[in-house]
């Protein structure tokens, strides 16, 4: 069974959440020959005197520090290297066969330490420290600690021979999956880790501090699915003292480690950091240190119980006095969590309940986003009509029937509402009466939403063109060939009109002449509507990325890759840009740098474009819900279920948020204000 297969089987168990079962062939690794290998060094190397513990049979190593042992090398005439397992900070770990047991396949792990320090005095001191550490290890006996078999040096290297643990470490496991680990698994592992920490911390004559707790040092043994701690802080002892500027933490270490303090409560912190990583998938090595308190687990993973979050957060207290005083006390609280979480239904936000102020049902799906203007709500429906409703009551003022479905969102200007229809016509209609003002026929369905600027209306059509018309008369100012259907809406900014095309380009066109100023080619169709801020045009592409383009020249400044098509149009509020992706997430990025601030997972594609009002982000999802999230943290405030996927964007006005759903209904819900 390969390492990947084993990992897979552990993953499968996680998914099925069934009691762990032994993999069928867990003991068979690696497939050794049945005949025992010759006891002794390979024949081409002169045998070393048996009593000599010095350089013996590492072929061609020549004392060089950068070479790994090869398969077949034999150390101390006893350990035959079978396989390179991993590279550590100061050397490597190998799988080896203990040749003293010729008739059985006794496998051991051989850890190699290479001193990087050339100075022989420093080197000797380091080696002595290492030996002392190895001696302590040898005195330990716990089911979750690998047994130590041997210790020796050879050339400039030191070797530690320990029990070979066959299993998967939690870092590798995290790398394999793209969802947070189930709480119950994590709690079980945490309890076992607390047990072994408790054993170490109560070691006589003096407590042992692990000092290097992190996912990669926690191994889940295949055999019994139990936790085993590996990498016993030896690397720490071996780290040379640096002077001048120092480089610190690996993300899991407690603050006091910077003051050179190592005590048991530091291990409690690092275990907390490890659990936070496992439950949130937020890698602390990629974050500024000690920022866990600002990132509660449930922000990332609402399925974690508040009780579990409280345990982890207490372990992560900045001051050691505020943490669990011992691993044992943490273990007790974890046991209590295990009790509570069993049989609990998936957690749901308590404030989910939201009653619409009104709702309005039409004949077909609503994919057009409503517009709110002077106490009226305008929206189109796939039933071919444009509706005008009383904003506060939802009472119908008028409707205007076209010959095609309306997915284009209306634009209101100067008592006129503009909208396109799949009947290929752009309509200008009086807001008061719903009477026609003018129309403009095109040669393709109009899915692009018209935008107004400088008393003109700009929109795209499936006939590949972008049109600029006088808002008053409908007279054409210019038209521009977009190279493909234009579903993105042209947005006016300064002297430019910017829009995307299904030919993959983002175009910037002179607002007066219709001449192209620049274009930028993405890898797929651009159906998202650009947003302008900070001298940049932000726009999504179906090539899965969101782009920030320099308004001056169209140069890409940054892009952010998601795992789905980005059709949702971004929304900028201050320095934050919000947008959805078909990978089911709503993203919040730093608008200047494209750095991820947070993301929120819904259960469906987020085609809908977010709207921000008073620090709250509203967005619809194909999972049928309208979400209301805290704009700063991405915390869920409430969500409202509709009867169908939501692809339209919400609109906000007068304390209400309006959203249309494919369940044929427009809903008006109270916003956060008044809560």
């Amino acid at each position: 069974m390969s390492a990947n297969d084993r990992k897979r089987s552990l993953l499968d168990r996680l998914k099925s959440a069934e009691p762990p079962q032994k993999p069928a062939d867990e003991t068979a690794q690696p497939p050794g020959e049945s005949a025992p290998p010759p006891a002794g060094p390979p024949s081409d190397v002169p045998p070393a005197p048996p009593e000599d513990r010095g350089p013996s049979v590492v072929p061609d190593s020549g004392g060089r520090d950068d070479e790994f042992l090869s398969t077949g090398d034999v150390l101390q005439q006893r350990y035959e290297i079978r396989k390179f397992l991993s590279k550590g900070g100061m050397g490597a770990v190998y799988l080896a066969k203990d040749l003293r047991f010729p008739t059985v396949e006794k496998l051991v792990a051989v850890k190699e330490m290479i001193s990087a320090i050339r100075d022989s005095v420093t080197s000797r001191i380091s080696l002595e420290t290492f030996q002392r550490e190895a001696t302590i290890l040898a005195s330990l006996s716990h089911v979750a600690i690998p047994k130590v078999f041997d210790y020796f040096h050879q050339e400039r290297r030191v070797y530690l021979v320990i029990e070979y643990i066959q299993g998967t470490d939690l870092e590798s496991l995290l790398a394999e999956i793209d969802y947070p680990l189930p709480q119950d698994n994590v709690v079980n592992w945490a309890i076992q880790t607390c047990e072994v920490l408790n054993y170490l911390h109560n070691h006589k004559p003096s407590p042992i501090v692990f000092r290097d707790m992190k996912p990669s040092n926690i191994m889940i043994r295949d055999e019994d699915q139990r936790v085993v701690l590996i990498d016993f802080g030896i690397a720490k002892v071996f780290q040379s003292g640096r002077r001048g500027t120092m480089i610190g933490t690996e993300g899991y270490s407690p603050p006091e480690q910077y003051r050179g303090i190592a005590e048991p409560r530091g291990d409690v912190y690092a275990l907390g950091a490890t659990l936070h990583h496992l439950l949130t998938r937020r890698d602390p090595r990629k974050e500024p240190p000690f920022t866990f308190q600002e990132h509660p687990i449930r922000d990332f993973n609402p399925s974690v119980t508040p009780e579990m979050e409280a345990v982890v957060m207490r372990a992560l207290a900045y001051e050691a006095e505020d943490r669990y005083p011992s691993a044992e006390e943490m273990r007790r609280d974890l046991l209590a969590v295990l009790g509570t979480s069993q049989g609990t239904a998936p957690t749901r936000p308590s404030r989910e309940e939201r009653t619409p102020v009104w709702s309005f049902v039409c004949q077909h799906e609503i994919r057009s986003s409503p517009q709110v203007f002077e106490n009226a709500v305008y929206f189109g429906s796939y039933d071919k009509s444009m509706y005008c409703l009383e904003a506060s009551t939802g009472e119908e003022r008028w409707r205007y029937a076209t010959d095609g479905g309306i997915v284009s969102s209306p634009c209101v200007w100067n008592e006129t509402v503009f909208f396109g229809s799949e009947d290929q016509i752009l309509y200008a209609v009086y807001t008061r009466t719903g009477r026609i003002v003018w129309t403009c026929p095109t040669d393709g369905k109009i899915r692009s939403s018209p935008k107004e600027g400088y008393d003109h209306v700009f929109f795209g059509s499936d006939d590949h063109r972008v049109y600029a018309l006088s808002a008053k008369s409908g007279q054409e100012l210019w038209r521009f060939d977009g190279g493909g259907p234009v579903r993105s809406s042209p947005v006016v900014s300064g002297e430019l009109v910017i829009f995307g095309s299904d030919d993959g380009n983002v175009y910037a066109v002179d607002v007066q002449s219709g001449e192209m100023r620049w274009k930028y080619q993405t890898d797929r169709a651009v159906q998202s509507t650009p947003t302008m801020a900070h001298d940049m045009a932000y726009v999504g592409s179906t090539d899965f990325s969101l782009y920030a383009l320099d308004l001056d020249n169209g140069w890409p400044v940054w892009r952010f890759r998601t795992k789905g098509r980005v059709i949702s149009s971004p929304w900028v509020s201050g320095n934050v840009i919000y947008f959805g992706s078909n990978d089911h997430h709503l993203y919040a990025l730093d608008a200047r740098t494209g750095t991820l601030l947070w993301k929120y997972a819904t259960k469906g594609s987020v085609v809908s474009s977010p709207r921000v009002s008073n620090g709250t982000v509203y967005v619809g999802s194909a999972d049928c819900h309208l979400y209301s999230l805290d704009g700063e943290t991405g915390n869920l405030r409430w969500r409202f279920p509709t009867g169908g996927p939501i692809t339209a964007s919400p609109a906000i006005g007068a304390g209400l948020v309006y959203v249309g759903s494919t369940d044929h209904t427009v809903y008006a819900l109270p916003t956060e204000q008044g809560d």
Partner: protein
Amino acid sequence: MGIRNKLFRREKENGSERPPTREGSPPDRLQCASPLDVAQATDIGRTREINEDAFLTLKAVVGTSDPPSPLALLIVADGLGGHAGGREASTTAVRVAARALITELLLPILMNETREMGRRPIQEIITEAIISANQSVSQIESDAGTTLTAVLVADHSAYAGHVGDTRLYYVTDGKATQITKDHSLVSRLVELGEISPKEAQSHPQRNFLYRALGQDPELEVDAHLQRLAEGSYLLLCSDGLWGSVSDQEMLEVIYEAPSLQEACNRLIDLANERGGDDNTTVVLARINY
């Protein structure tokens, strides 16, 4: 107007906008005024045995249009780890990053081959250049590391990539704004309110970095974009300067010195007067128009 237009498209109406007049310059020499000036200085300080800072500056003025367009690359790295390792780390980082940025950004821009940049965003190219520098530094045998701050100036934009505590300041209208964020423990402690900025100045662990090149194969690079106003400055400096000279003092020197070079020299002198505990490197650029 975009740099591409400026560089490679002749304006139909020539000279609609004249560059600002330098005091005392005769009008017919206006065309010679550089849109961007760059100066730099480095010093070992008074207590260190070796200067572990490294830097690179590169400036081009492209006069194929009117007014001419500036293009510049400014890099400062501060080696960590003592002995010769830190020096090797910072030089390696500067060279590797510079090579990548010159090949993948400067040359395509100069040759009007921006399409050949593979349509990659500028900040991605900068980030990847710093990541390749990180790989090269990691291959150095000692466990040394380095900071790295690299800035591309193109037209009126500065694109920066940053790891560590070498700072980039934007100076305009008598105000200095720190663009980069120090990846140091102490600045994090200040953010958390655990210590005051004043305490940070003398904190025993003020040199601890939580992010640097040469430490981890995976490196996160901060990216920044700053638009540049006429008459503004960009200042890159290692902690030898900002550790002992306040932002206000830097401002005074920059505005009062008779020349950019003199400003750099005076900043170094100031750091040395305060003890010169560390190497100091200063790169200063002025956007003339």
